[in-house]
Symmetry: D2
Amino acid sequence: MSFNSFGRIFRLTTWGESHGAAIGVVIDGCPPGISLRAEDIQPALDARKPGTSKFVTQRKEPDTVRILSGVFEDDRTDGPRTTGAPISLAIENTDQRSKDYADIRDKYRPGHADITYDAKYGFRDYRGGGRSSARETACRVAAGVVARMALAHVLGGAVSIKACLVQMGPHKINRVRFDWSEIEKNPFWCPDATAANEWEDHLEAARKAGSSMGAVVEIVASGVPAGLGAPVYGKLDADLASAMMSINAAKAVEIGAGIEAAELSGEENADEIRMKDGRPHFLSNRAGGILGGISTGQDIVVRVAVKPTSSILTPRKTITRDGEETEIVTKGRHDPCVGIRGVPVAAAMMALVLADHALLHRGQCG
Amino acid sequence: MSFNSFGRIFRLTTWGESHGAAIGVVIDGCPPGISLRAEDIQPALDARKPGTSKFVTQRKEPDTVRILSGVFEDDRTDGPRTTGAPISLAIENTDQRSKDYADIRDKYRPGHADITYDAKYGFRDYRGGGRSSARETACRVAAGVVARMALAHVLGGAVSIKACLVQMGPHKINRVRFDWSEIEKNPFWCPDATAANEWEDHLEAARKAGSSMGAVVEIVASGVPAGLGAPVYGKLDADLASAMMSINAAKAVEIGAGIEAAELSGEENADEIRMKDGRPHFLSNRAGGILGGISTGQDIVVRVAVKPTSSILTPRKTITRDGEETEIVTKGRHDPCVGIRGVPVAAAMMALVLADHALLHRGQCG
Amino acid sequence: MSFNSFGRIFRLTTWGESHGAAIGVVIDGCPPGISLRAEDIQPALDARKPGTSKFVTQRKEPDTVRILSGVFEDDRTDGPRTTGAPISLAIENTDQRSKDYADIRDKYRPGHADITYDAKYGFRDYRGGGRSSARETACRVAAGVVARMALAHVLGGAVSIKACLVQMGPHKINRVRFDWSEIEKNPFWCPDATAANEWEDHLEAARKAGSSMGAVVEIVASGVPAGLGAPVYGKLDADLASAMMSINAAKAVEIGAGIEAAELSGEENADEIRMKDGRPHFLSNRAGGILGGISTGQDIVVRVAVKPTSSILTPRKTITRDGEETEIVTKGRHDPCVGIRGVPVAAAMMALVLADHALLHRGQCG
Amino acid sequence: MSFNSFGRIFRLTTWGESHGAAIGVVIDGCPPGISLRAEDIQPALDARKPGTSKFVTQRKEPDTVRILSGVFEDDRTDGPRTTGAPISLAIENTDQRSKDYADIRDKYRPGHADITYDAKYGFRDYRGGGRSSARETACRVAAGVVARMALAHVLGGAVSIKACLVQMGPHKINRVRFDWSEIEKNPFWCPDATAANEWEDHLEAARKAGSSMGAVVEIVASGVPAGLGAPVYGKLDADLASAMMSINAAKAVEIGAGIEAAELSGEENADEIRMKDGRPHFLSNRAGGILGGISTGQDIVVRVAVKPTSSILTPRKTITRDGEETEIVTKGRHDPCVGIRGVPVAAAMMALVLADHALLHRGQCG
């Protein structure tokens, strides 16, 4: 029942603080026989990596992943294969500059976990947030790559998982212009080229003002077969909600129509069903691909609302550990919109949940 | 890793179908020495019970709970006490009328779990939804009472958990008129008397039209001490998200500012801190009482969006098990707004998550 | 992480005290589509049932099992089938006579859990042992039947699980006379007819003297395919050790050569391998069918040593709850050798562990 | 439900193969505020380390442990302290010489996990046993040090855990000469100086003959308060049985009187109770300190029988992966008695189980 673990049968355990020696993840329950090299994982880390544009923290980390266990290159196989043993991945922390954080040693940053870690543990690792740092999500992204491979191994390669930003601050994309091919062309994973241009101005203004912006991430998994998930507390949507809410700064999770489902009539809500190519075909997808906690075979659609970075240059009222009232300005290297880096993390969490349920389904229902 | 279990150290396992012999719940991990009688649990079941107004399903069940194990009346104690052994609660199903459901034996109801249970399990218990029925939530409400008692036992009685409906269909309450004392005065758990009157008309119109409406439930826990919760995959908000999304018909979960957090500036989002009565005092609560997955000591505020009942009288396109295209009209006794019955269920889930974390915190941090 | 639950993917949760209203078990994770009726389970309970000879407690319970959930008789299937939902089984307690236990309300019985339950929980259910009573094992036996069915469903019916007593007190069977067909012909599940006759005299003498005897149970599973189990903390033998040691009165668990493995030479210990009928064939089975925590395909052989019943008529020194020194004589109905009733329980635990690992293996390795 | 994890609330996850880059362990659930440095852990690894006498494998590893996360040195504390975050420990593999194992690439070693890993996973890491190597136990020993610290932190330092060898091959110690102070004076952890001398000759003879010997480890925990443990599947003895049986080469686990409990009369078995210094005092300890799965306050006494090393120089009949009959001689560096190195491992497992139950008890019963 480890708190730093996620998943039932495909299970990861992450460790490490933002300013310790390294961070890492142990993946247990990955099926044997899957081809896996560090080079398969590295691109996902590079895509998530800070420092790639002025809109993400300027911390420079090579974020080079090492595979320490769980793969073996038998000379009878074509390259290293997973063995069924736990896969240990580690990433060294190289750019730690913890001196930047001296100011927060005694002051709580409003909107941060500083005050709650202290309340729970009696003291805290104040170096850049310690365990509460978004740096932990690099481990999720690395494990997410392995999860995608496991998913392909179990389900035959059909599943595609994509994620993008559909809103930055109050600015939403125009769904008419939605184009997945756009997400790699702008620094925001924005599927709407026009919106991406506008966001650039908005975010640049926020950054210059020392402020920050929230965002909404949308994750879509296509090709998931019907029948994955499990009632009633291991529902696919309940697991996705937990997975997404565990991402730093997440404040809301929606499935399909999400919050707007409350406003629909019963007629609008119930996705009608026809046959197409010999299989059930839904005429709409308000359900977001999940009914009763089990996949319908449609796209699984999840959205996560992410709050703005709390580390801002505007002075904010706060207190010290000793209960003195004071003010704080959070300097250091910070993302003006953490939602951007949340995109690959959310996609990774989708992959982890689906890999887990695909294996579980095979175990329980053959 | 039972799918029908919830919680880590305070853990419940529910069983039963809507039209089987009975439903029930086994609660494991409840501390010993707590005074518990069936009469303590019954009122919560009565409050949730169908058939109490024309706005909830007319199914008539006495819903009488029996305590089958886990309490013992030593003649040296003042009444029965929990012993630390598993507490087994059972509720008989008395009004089963499964003939009403004959029509859905072969047709999938759009928006229901019929088609996904079949996809997962190869066949399904079609009597009123079987395991996917909202009837399972009676077990959650019963267990929620025990959770509240455990919480009081561990934390000293300070925690208060309340829930209400803040939106029905597109109609939101006016926050200015929010008054907890109103929720027992109308059949909707509505904290705004004026809105309650209006909702009555809206829902009556929907009911007469054979349609249904969605809703938004808000749950507030006051008096939760700072420091409950656990990074990074056992976050209090991640557990709450899972708990709430596991409720039938839930499509979105929000913590604090929720989906609107995406629209806030960094300055607005970061709740400032002062001292008051020798303790930290936050000047706002966008965080909803949780930072870094750990409670701040403020009110914990969660909202759940619930979709409209899928069982409607309007004919809908669907298919049969054998893949034939057809139409369906769902007769039988159904709630025009399942969100209403979701209110005590959501409050119970809050109690369960908090009891679990209170015990866990005591175990880990003394 | 419920303490009253066992298993990972095929998971049972038991509840109930010896003198409460009922006892029961919830089985989660049973595959769907298995034919299951109460009549399938009842014979196993009847075989375990007290009161069947003068060598087991004279408590008379009909021990009638009811299936409350998890099976459904669709008119398209030939009789009730498991649905994949939790299977709830309940057995009423009818012969409670708790007055017999008044004497132990304040005195601790040496060798019983009385004193430790009090130490842990602050008070205890003193009616016949409450939760520590062997009555709980009826639930294991009932669940064991379902486990055997699940095992047959997943592995194709090949597995056979048998158990017997190979030692009573200091009296061991003669392995030369070992004959499985004997175990139903005597009241001890003894596979050696000659030993059974002798045991009858020994046990009768112990019973008359108000004393009791220990025993050794042997459980053998044949037809288990190679490859079940999982390193390094979910080893098949580690799970079996936990399962068997959780049985009331168990004090030792052996796999294969067991304790005698310490005395073997390396040459004797390493079971040599040949081919036979195109499959690996071991020339001996010191390993007891398990290497590295994974099944070899040979018989899985486990032995459990069970201590003598602590409830004896000889006065024993003890203390009261209040710390006064006193003596106690345990009257009431007790088994002179609890090992006898342990035989079907141990077989059930073997079935549970194997069903769990068969499902897990299918999940992880396809 | 990770197979490479152990413990409920104090939980470790180990990773790594004998001939990979490194091995390691992640410890989750360690309470915050405990002083912890690598120097605290290193001595335990040095004591377990191979190469320290001719009776353990001549593999030379410095086995230097690094703490990669979970501790933090705040300048307000006296040295590094655990933070409540996962503690990641890693040990590099430096002496890998995997060429020694070329011969076993295609042949199964009798008595090894070679054949079962292949059966389960479809292929295996044949370098020195891969995941099945005893090298994994270095991680247990390292985690065991942290467990001892956690135990002292929670229970106030009273618990002492010791382990020794009480039997090598057929040669048992003389209990009359039992002296804990002897165990560090001979290479066998033998508490009987005379026996140790004799064992030296026996083991030297076995080593020269290319053979190997089994052993029995005894582990004793003193100062454990009454009340730790949990019925009915989380019993202290059931958890200990699982923990000990998960150690490489273990074939039997005994608690207290163990296998001999079967031969005791009810009178002998039931440890009588008196008062001493105001607390319950048992006149004997057949129970091994555990009744009903809960500690009595007496010494907890566990024995583990370990089979002889399977890697021997005598040629043994075996088969190849392709099913050809052949013979094998296992060269390489091996322990003539793996039981020796099992002593600190078994002590570590005792510490892990007790730390877990101490934290659990605090959580559940305050």
